[in-house]
Symmetry: C2
Subunit: 188 residues, 2 copies
């Protein structure tokens, strides 16, 4: 892997900075170089917030995402800002709980009810960020499940490890199944 | 204020990323543009870890710290890596609990027992990061106490708000007192 630029976007309270920090930590555990960042400017005050992770085996000269290889959008506004005009090869994941209007996209597009599943499986929206991390990590094919699990354990706030590991597990499976051709789902 | 580059350094478990995120959030509340980042590379694996915050009223073109205006070092190794070769005008804060050997520095140098005080005042080392944030914010003269308090409340993990606000208060006072000429200490 020569490089991957990941953009996690949504609204302020969704915990995407923490998800990005966990993703960065997993990539460090996998031996890569990583820069993780968030920018706040006039545009950030508009509502959409984003956290970036750049993963590379080379030295990272410019530490901001320029050509995302994977975008997660957890709100309609974030989708509008970051989910359009992507390279065809880029992977786009939207949380279909919140992103209801999407432009058709042939390939590498995954609309998954991440927050809704977090509510139904874990009794509340907390840990939707970690479920999203599981989806992204599984679809990105960058990291092993063990590396991501370790990163979540290292970074989960006190008392939330069990819940977050459950969220990660569900998200990982969701990502893995989404990758399969439609005919093979629930078979693998 | 045209710009300020802040570097919070120490070891992995000290919570400096969270302190940097809180500092960034306070600067956003104050209406500034902010980029907050952490880099992990071969050098980061050496032991010293750092989190960066760039605060500006202009657009931030290069999002990494190049000429720090304020450095916090919470370990001897971090001091060695980031606390030497600073501009004379840069503010250097070291946690004297861990940074025992220092090169003399005439101006803008503050050796404060941050972790030791956290232990004695709060019964453990947790929240030393927030006490350090209080010191840095008070010495940096960038932000009001209210802005930093709000940022800590927004970002403190569940159940830790009270402890972290106490840590912030002690850190803020420590920073304010350290700034006074020696003769005036404990008088203001």
């Amino acid at each position: 892997m020569s490089g991957e630029q990941v953009l996690l976007s949504g609204t302020g309270g969704q915990g995407l900075i923490l998800a990005a920090i966990m993703l960065a930590e997993a990539a460090v555990l996998a031996g890569h170089n990583v820069v993780q960042s968030q920018s706040y400017g006039p545009e950030a005050r508009g509502g959409a917030s984003k956290a970036e992770v750049i993963i590379s085996d080379e030295k990272i000269y410019y530490p901001k995402v320029q050509t995302p290889g994977l975008v997660l959008a957890m709100s309609q506004e974030a989708y509008r800002k970051y989910g359009l005009n992507l390279d065809e090869a880029a992977i786009l994941v939207v949380d279909s709980t919140y992103v209801l209007e999407v432009k058709p996209r042939q390939k590498n597009f995954y609309a998954l009810p991440i927050t809704r599943l977090t509510r139904s499986e874990l009794g509340g929206e907390q840990s939707a960020n970690v479920m999203a991390l599981g989806v992204v990590a599984a679809l990105g094919n960058l990291l092993t499940r063990e590396q991501v699990t370790q990163a979540v354990l290292n970074r989960a706030p006190k008392g939330t490890a069990k819940r977050n590991l459950k969220a990660l597990e569900i998200g990982w499976q969701l990502g893995r199944e989404a990758e399969l051709p439609a005919g093979n789902r629930n078979a693998g």
